[in-house]
């Protein structure tokens, strides 16, 4: 039981990717197992991946970010809406907005001492309001054809957005795996008090995590805007759950201190293959929603049970000493 839980917890993403490819590959080989479909999947997950990376970083530090969806939608709207001032201004504006939301989230959590999900729930609501006011609930359409390069273009057979994601993957891998600032995030997520006593600046770490999350959500927004060459208020409605699902499938824990960027990539890949396969098989929308919900419930429950088991073991070990 313990081994099974551990296996499910730590390698669920890779297992899921493996299982899904076999399942969809055998049920729809003519459409699923083709080069153009894999390119499709790569394109699709590239839009979500930055946001999931951000969510993963926050989860590792023991937080959670519910505001990623509205941040992403607002960044997409800014990337389109600010184009009259020049595309670089629009993109920088969008990224700056994401960073700003991250700073506000970080301040609310570190200085305001508000629990992460309550604070980000508030900013989510606020940013949603800004988005509705800014767009007047209308769709915005881009005016700069060159802007679509990032989300829609490709270099050889590889989508540009996928290369952007790979670059971020490497950068964050280095940060979390090898830089002190990144390693500190694990310490903060694992045990805040111990980290503090060990000389880690907890507040700085949390600020970094939320800023990265806001920025990455904005990157997702810019890529989506570039891919669609438009933006609407409906964007990102399911993003909070999707990003948390992907990160949890990738081995993160709601209790903090666990996970990695590579695993987050596998998590978003698993969800991408799942969506793609269900679409190819013609599964109705509401069944797709139900499947995603069931997956989330399953991983949240596994996360809780595995954490409970690990804590019980720690208690036992302490008693034996």
């Amino acid at each position: 039981m313990k081994r099974l839980l551990g296996l499910l917890e730590n390698h669920s993403a890779a297992l899921l990717v493996f299982g899904l490819v076999i399942a969809f590959g055998s049920s729809a080989p003519a459409t699923f197992l083709t080069g153009s479909n894999f390119e499709n999947i790569a394109r699709q997950i590239s839009l979500d991946a930055p946001m999931v990376f951000g969510q993963m970083v926050v989860l590792i530090a023991g937080g959670i970010d519910i505001s990623v969806g509205s941040t992403m939608a607002m960044a997409a709207s800014l990337a389109i809406g600010l184009q009259p001032y020049g595309t670089p201004v629009a993109v920088l504006g969008a990224l700056g907005f994401g960073l700003g939301v991250g700073i506000v989230n970080g301040l609310l959590v570190t200085k305001g001492k508000i629990v992460a999900f309550v604070a980000t729930l508030g900013t989510m609501s606020l940013v949603r309001g800004l988005l509705l006011t800014y767009t007047g609930q209308a769709s915005l359409v881009g005016i700069d054809p060159a802007f679509t390069f990032w989300g829609d273009g490709q270099i050889g057979p590889v989508p540009v957005s996928f290369l952007v994601v790979l670059a971020m993957l490497l950068g964050l891998y280095a940060l979390l795996g090898h830089l002190r600032q990144g390693r500190n995030l694990y310490a903060i997520g694992g045990n805040k008090d111990a980290a503090f006593l060990g000389g880690v600046s907890v507040n700085k770490g949390l600020m970094l995590a939320f800023m990265l999350s806001g920025l990455m959500a904005a990157v997702s927004g810019v890529l989506v805007a570039s891919r669609l060459n438009s933006a609407s208020v409906q964007l990102g409605a399911d993003a909070p759950l999707m990003s948390i699902s992907a990160a949890l499938i990738g081995g993160a824990s709601l209790f903090g201190g666990k996970g990695s960027i590579i695993a987050a990539f596998f998590g978003v890949l698993a969800l991408g293959i799942l969506n793609n396969g269900m679409n190819l098989l013609g599964v109705p929308t509401y069944t797709q929603i139900a499947v995603r919900a069931l997956i989330l419930i399953t991983i949240v429950v596994i996360d809780a049970l595995a954490t409970r088991l690990r804590r019980a073991e720690l208690d036992n070990a302490r008693i034996l000493e």
Binding site: L108, I114, F117, L294, L296
Partner: protein, 338 residues
Amino acid sequence: MNSQEVDPSRRPDVPSNKAPPAKSGGRRRHWSEPLRNQTAVVLLVVLVIAGSLLSDVFLTPRNLLNILWAVSLLGIVSLGQTVLLLTARFDMSVAGVVGLAGIVTVLAQINGFGLIASIGFGLGSGVLVGLCNGVLVLATGANPFLVTLAVNLLVYSLALSLTESKTLYATIPEFNLIGRGQLFGFLHYSVIVFLALAVGLEFVLRRTIPGRTIYVAGLNEVAGRLSGLRLQITKLSAFVLCSGLAALTGIIMTSRINSTIASSGFGMEFDSIIAAVLGGTSLFGGRGGTLRTIVGVVVLGVINNLLVLLNVPSEAQQIAKGLVFLAVVLADSALRRS
């Protein structure tokens, strides 16, 4: 959860034993002391004064009744949410339940069931979702926020498949009376239901053992368990109550317009939490009550009403809601630390 420490400042109605004013004779009570925990009341007074200055029609009985009517549905949901918040848990699935209950009620009518039976089916669907939420969260210790958010999606997809994404219309004419009918020609039934439920629940919370147990569940589970309180069944009841009241809301909402769609409750999950917290119910359990939630809900209603009267675009209401929520949560957090 089981290593929760007792924080004296979080006990309801128990004076903090940290600094009893009598002991420190020199320390005068701060002038704001009676106003603490009453952020919403202060806010309401300020808003009403501002409203009467800014608009001629604001302080008319008709407008005030309109505000009550507009918030009564959200109010009923918020009451259930308040009870659940007292146990330090949430229900994000109320949005889906509001839609589902209306749909189940209308479907029962379409299939030939009577008025009472169809309402029974609607309420039953809510109770079932509540049981599902409660068992999932309580048996595994999983994060209630995410579990109920996922259950919300499940319920929504069920509602979508039941309606095939169409609008459904009620078939029993008397059904419309529940949502449209008025007592004495001016007081809507939904307002009466909301206020009666708030008072009734406050009484249960304050004066009965199950009610007090709810507070204990939010404050100190270990102490509650050691005192032999039936915590698990109480917490499960809170989940069921919350979903049940959401279902009631869905049924009344459906009867107002005689039709329903799957997404009719969207946004109510956040708004009900905002209203409860605004009223002064803590997000961390054990502090608050349903009477406070009336104030919280009315404040939200007054803000919306004023923005409409002042011709502020409806999109800005969302900004106002977000700002008010953050302000209240910050105040709540500052209060807990002081």
